[in-house]
């Protein structure tokens, strides 16, 4: 059984944009005539044609090749628009590739949406059959699993009531219950698990893990890196339609996080002539202010398990006594998380104009998932009134990489400390 469950080679998908997808026959006719005119008039330069063609095309996936081994739980990560959904659609045969090939070994079931085929006028029972056969089961298979499905969904006596009378939660539970009882060799899941309440999500996660542990191959697309880390053994990263990386889940998620840092705002570079003055005295010349991972470069995205170094680099000119550098970290709602400052040590500054670094480390397991901004301030203890403030100098994101079930909502709370939990039997008797 050394054959890969999924073998993808040179896969590409091209979409045409613009009016080449004419909506009416009239539009198409006009476009067709325009095309004819281009063919017959030799005065049009060839380069003109080529550029027009390129503008109208968009490769959602290009030259993607990889294998998924049997029994693997394989994660697919990437930003929005990287091509993840397109890849799933191609494997699910919802659409066909432009180039390349996909070889599948085993029955495939795709869960791209919960409750596909549900119709509000049909009863729960009828919808179970509809959804089940749509997902690839035969009537007989739905029959065999019917009772389990109903129990998993816990919709009780509502089975023979029209679905339009169901609450949205019931609809989701029913849809997922059907999907959870698929028994394909290859299961493809696209971020559909982010619905329903926490209790139900735990059930779904459990079911998914059971499926995976039975030796079935699972392809899992998600933005929830915690879930990906928990469930997947290997993963791949898609960037702009290309396969950027493939490897163990840890490697890929780290690479993804590092890459995500290439956004605006994680580093602020000051203009070369800028100086910070107090009372007309040039105190220092700022160079840059950045959020960095420890012992590595500036990045814009951190895991909850990573310490964040806020590093201010400048050239000290005339360090007045009591010059302080401070930071204030705020979340997107503007709530001040904390601030901190330090007096610049003049002994470190050398006489030559060598740049100096002043940095602080925000401990890991402090900030919760979210986007944060940092204000940078410089002032002088001996000159109370003067102050330099660069508001929202930096922006960085914190991502929950340790996972909290499969919910995409993070653990609530502005901070996310890791607390020590202890359990023991009580000593002594009554």
């Amino acid at each position: 059984m050394n054959e890969p469950a999924v073998h993808i080679e040179g896969l590409g998908k091209r979409y045409r944009l613009g009016l080449t997808n004419a909506d009416t026959i009239a539009d198409w006719a006009a476009e067709f005539l325009r095309g004819l005119r281009r063919v017959f008039s030799r005065t049009e330069s060839p380069s003109g044609n080529a550029s027009k063609k390129v503008e109208n095309e968009f490769w959602a996936l290009k030259d993607v090749s990889f294998d998924v081994r049997q029994g693997e739980v394989f994660g697919i990560v990437g930003r929005n628009g990287a091509g993840k959904s397109t890849l799933l659609k191609l494997i699910s045969r919802v659409t066909s590739p432009t180039t390349g090939r996909i070889d599948l070994c085993g029955r495939v079931a795709s869960l791209l949406e919960v409750g596909t085929g549900f119709h509000p006028d049909l009863t729960g029972r009828e919808n179970v059959y509809m959804n089940g056969t749509l997902l690839g089961m035969t009537r007989r298979e739905v029959n065999q699993r019917f009772d389990e499905i109903v129990e998993f969904a816990s919709i009780g006596n509502f089975l023979d009531t029209q679905v339009k009378r169901y609450s949205s939660g019931m609809r989701v539970r029913l849809g997922f219950a059907v999907a959870a009882h698929l028994e394909p060799e290859i299961l493809i899941i696209d971020e559909v698990l982010t619905v329903g309440d926490a209790e139900f999500q735990k059930k779904c996660l459990g079911k998914m893990q059971t499926v995976a542990s039975r030796g079935r191959t699972v392809l899992f697309v998600s933005h929830n890196l915690g879930a990906v880390r928990n469930l997947c053994t290997r993963a791949c990263l898609l960037e702009h339609g290309r396969l950027a990386m493939i490897g163990t889940t840890g490697e890929v998620v780290d690479h993804y996080l590092r890459g995500q840092g290439q956004q605006h705002g994680w580093i602020k570079r000051f203009r070369s002539a800028e100086t910070i003055d107090f009372d007309g005295i040039r105190v220092l010349r700022p160079i840059s202010f950045a959020a960095c991972a420890l012992d590595s470069g500036e990045i814009g995205m951190f895991g909850t398990d990573q310490p964040i170094e806020l590093r201010f680099e400048f050239v000290p000119l005339t360090l007045l006594p009591g010059t302080r550098v401070g930071v204030m970290v705020r979340n997107v709602d503007g709530v001040a998380m904390f601030g901190s400052n330090v007096v610049v040590d003049p002994r470190i500054a050398s006489s030559s104009n060598r740049p100096m670094q002043v940095s602080c480390v925000v401990p890991s397991h402090l900030l919760n998932r979210g986007t944060y901004v940092v204000d940078l301030g410089v002032d002088c203890l001996s000159r109370q009134l003067d102050q330099y403030l660069s508001q929202e100098s930096l922006r960085f994101d914190v991502e929950d990489v340790e996972g909290h079930g499969i919910a995409s909502e993070s653990l609530p709370g502005v901070i996310r400390p890791r607390l020590d939990w202890r359990q023991a039997l009580r000593n002594g008797g009554e």
Binding site: R93, S96, T98, L104, C105, D121, L122, Q144, E185
Partner: protein, 288 residues
């Protein structure tokens, strides 16, 4: 096979292998695959039927109400006012019209349903895979329910007008089948085109109306000049309507040579349509 345990993988059971490649070439749809999805076809059809008739008072009664009223109006307007009746017809004009209307409605409803079948179920297309051909076929299936009800009423009318069924009744299923194939042959083209060009949706009612007047429903074929009859066999229903009427009411049979030509044309259109559909179906989810 219920409960949490799974049977060990039986090595004798064939592993299903699939290869997905870019669309190329021209070929007919895979019939084996269609057979494998027969459960889904059945469910799609019964689901659509249930949706139409659920929560309606007359329910299936609507299937009868409309053609009955239409027949009455035709009998008055064309039968009396225009004088189509009593023109050496072997049966009373109302039943003459109604019998043709039954088979014509099958064609019209099938065609109309089929031509919008793909766009109407767009939400299924973008999320799951199944042979898209199931959609127009299921649409034709939905129309046969109406036909069945109207057909029963035809027997009622036959009893009322004292027209006895003959042994020719046994060939009726052939014409029933011919009608569904005729509807499907056009429907497959139209539904595939409709995905790309939404104005097809507006063409279909007009097409059906035009074909109606070019079909001997409200008049016998004898009204059509001889030299034009060859032209009219481009209309797939031209001979079928007459043939159906002949099998039910023993009215004069159609010109069989015209029937054969018409059928051959329909077959060519059908095959072409299936190939075209197959070629374009993988792009439906992209354009829809």
């Amino acid at each position: 096979m219920s409960g949490e345990s799974i049977p060990p993988r039986d090595l004798g059971v064939a592993i299903e292998r699939t290869t997905i490649l870019p669309v190329s070439g021209w070929s007919l749809p895979d019939l084996r695959e269609l057979w494998r999805y027969r459960d889904l076809l059945f469910l799609l059809t019964s689901r659509n039927i249930a949706i139409i008739y659920r929560q309606s008072i007359l329910g299936i009664g609507w299937a009868v109400f409309r053609p009955l009223v239409t027949t009455i109006i035709f009998a008055i307007v064309f039968g009396r006012f225009a004088g189509f009746a009593d023109k050496s017809l072997s049966v009373p004009y109302p039943i003459f019209v109604y019998a043709a209307l039954v088979i014509w409605n099958l064609f019209a409803t099938s065609l109309s349903n089929a031509s919008e079948s793909v766009v109407a179920q767009a939400n299924l297309l973008t999320k799951t895979y199944f042979p898209r051909l199931l959609l127009p076929v299921s649409a034709v299936g939905v129309a046969t329910v109406d036909f069945a009800v109207q057909f029963l009423l035809l027997f009622g009318l036959m009893w009322y007008y004292g027209v006895a069924p003959t042994v020719l009744l046994l060939v009726m299923p052939i014409f029933f089948l011919a009608t569904t194939i005729a509807a499907l042959s056009l429907g497959v083209w139209l539904t595939a085109l409709n995905v790309r060009f939404r104005d097809v949706k507006h063409v279909v009612p007009f097409l059906i109306q035009t074909l109606f007047y070019l079909t001997p429903v409200i008049y016998p074929v004898s009204f059509v000049p001889e030299r034009l009859r060859w032209l009219l066999c481009l209309n797939p229903m031209f001979s079928i309507v007459e043939a159906f009427r002949w099998s039910m009411l023993a009215t004069p049979p159609p010109d069989w040579s015209l029937f054969v030509v018409s059928s051959l044309i329909t077959c060519v259109v059908l095959v072409g349509g299936l190939i075209f559909f197959r070629r374009t179906e993988s792009t439906f989810a992209d354009i829809i």
